[in-house]
Symmetry: C4
Subunit: 217 residues, 4 copies
């Protein structure tokens, strides 16, 4: 990247979103990770990403590092990239994501297990769906794939990548018992997508528990 101040700008944006996720209760116990794709001119740097094991209540730009397309750290910060870096890199390959946010909310964690046998969560009939890029009506259907959790991140990435390439209006997936991955064309779109999905997951969790939502009209 050209200058330190440019890196600092990315790292500050990312840390701010991470602290916001913590305040919302979506990042307990040093869990969750966040990244932003860098412009081409920054190559071989591919993205900035949060380092492993940091408390998101107080994370700042000192806990953010740059990695290349193999997940190798490029800076001199002596930080370890998130253990889930492979999933972020996969998303930058498979989609046009400008930012990737991975959170552990209660609703996402629960639904990822209770709906796991269906393989995906289909969401429709909610006006807030229009907060997702390219969705123009509450009647559109959005699908959130659900994958089994694993500690083998490279293996998971290999499994998930073909499912996402060319999937229309797909901005997220669930890992069972683990949490939610969302992305967007830039950090603001990704943040909005996260807020939209978290709200919709709360809606779906309650509808599926009590079982009496009417069909969307």
């Amino acid at each position: 990247m050209d200058t330190y101040s440019e890196f600092k700008w990315y790292a500050d944006q990312l840390a701010e979103v991470a602290r916001w996720a913590y305040r919302n209760g979506w990042a307990p116990g040093t869990s969750t990770n966040y990244s932003m794709r860098l412009p081409c001119k920054a190559a071989p740097a591919l993205c900035v990403i949060t380092s492993s094991g940091v408390d998101k209540e107080t994370i700042d730009s000192n806990h953010v590092l740059t990695v290349d397309c193999h997940g190798q750290p490029l800076g001199e910060e002596n930080l370890t990239p998130s253990a889930e870096t492979a999933l972020h890199l996969m998303l930058y390959r498979a989609t046009e994501a400008g930012a990737v946010l991975h959170t552990h909310s209660l609703a996402a964690t629960l639904l990822s297990r209770t709906a796991q046998s269906q393989g995906h969560l289909t969401i429709s009939g909610w006006e807030l769906l229009k907060g997702l890029e390219g969705v123009t009506s509450h009647q559109n259907e959005v699908s959130l794939p659900i994958f089994s959790n694993s500690q083998d991140m490279e293996g998971l990435a290999t499994l998930i990548e073909p499912r996402l390439v060319a999937a229309p209006r797909c901005y997220g997936f669930l890992l069972s018992g683990h949490g939610l991955y969302v992305w967007g064309k830039d950090i603001w779109a990704a943040k909005r997508h996260l807020e939209v999905f978290e709200f919709l997951l709360q809606c779906e969790r309650e509808v599926r528990s009590y079982g009496n939502a009417t069909s969307p009209r």
Copy 2:
């Protein structure tokens, strides 16, 4: 309007209520919109209204514009009025509302679908009903009509308007899977009505899920 400072006062009030709604969790993902009727002397300006697609966590008076009774922007701000402006204008025609607030809380969104087949939500037996203008006893019945959602705002407005004209003590309605509209004689009454309805919707949501509230006495 006479002066910039008067417009600024309205815009500041409106933005403050919008940020308050966000803090309460009722305005996720750039959703929701808010307006205040202007005094007659401001004609042809009818109301100030929030612009489209703004994050309500950080909205300020720069994201508020004035429109006439056809929803046409009047200022030089180069802002797009909310996509739901037609519903606000309809409410200023059909009622004496001084302010209109449209939010997306979890309780409103859920009940608007689970109770949709009944066409309305009848609320009674709760002391907090007295927070609504003109309600003097917990035994009064307040009805919240529920309408099917639509992306055709002009069509929705035409459908809803005759239902509201002359409805006694009606300060809100639900759009199915979408959210809640409330109003009041001024911004403070509208804000109080919003807080009252949000509380009562939480009560109703829980009573209807567990099904064992006794009749009001």
Copy 3:
């Protein structure tokens, strides 16, 4: 009362507790009211009490007034005492309360209706009961009477008073569909009792909804 500064101290304490209750979500839509008994030397002033219809998010000592044992305002503030002043006065007659707090939480409002037919809520088996004055074991039973709501406050006071005189370890009651009254020997005890009851009401609400708590041991 002797001096303005002494009144100000009481009024500040009361307003601070009211704002705290609002932050906890227990005082929506200008509802709820609060009072503190004054020392004997302040006679004929009996207590300070919040005025009617004030938003508790921003209440301060300017919204607090003194009343005598008939509920007549004594100061020059030109404020109207809370519509429920008669219940506060009754509690100062029937008990040794130094402060009375009346709130509208979701748990209190819901349980006051769902358990109304039993006439009271008996709470036992929770360690937090020891937060109530004189309760020394989680095995003690605490009873929270539930009364039908009414708009006739004098009538309600007459009905409730004989039930409270000499009731051991009784620091609160519920009004059906309305909310919770709690008291304590001073404002700090009353505040602690409120926090304890609100927590226990949440426990009871969930146990009674899902129905599988074992007996206390």
Copy 4:
């Protein structure tokens, strides 16, 4: 301990964690208690611990005292150590804990009663388990023993101690109707363990209420 400033450092850390627990809603009504083991050179002082009956919203280092291995206060602060000091001392004997945190969240209090007959809560299949020291996969099983509550703290300690000695990856237990004890090698690990357990208890509470989580994979 060598110096006042060293004691102050421990007391400040402890009070900060206590206020954080309060903000999370895990410390209502002056309940809960917290301690940190002191280094060997501080003998006969064993740990710093919060004093009895303090409001955790505003607790500071003035409400923290040092005790020896019999729970006797060593400083000149004239404070009474927490009524549950015996359980903290037992944990410092039975485990290598560097800090012990005891909280009263809604989820912990409820599950401690609803699952009491099983004698323990077995937690598995959640990625967040990896936030516990030594847990490397979501497929690991973590057991949280549940003990009957008692007002005899010495008796409780005698009952619990043999169950914990040599229990692998055990960082907490529940007291029925009372709350959660957690610990860790230092205050930061204990705090992370608390946040992890509170999240997992919320997951388990919901899964057990609605009953349809699939098995972990």
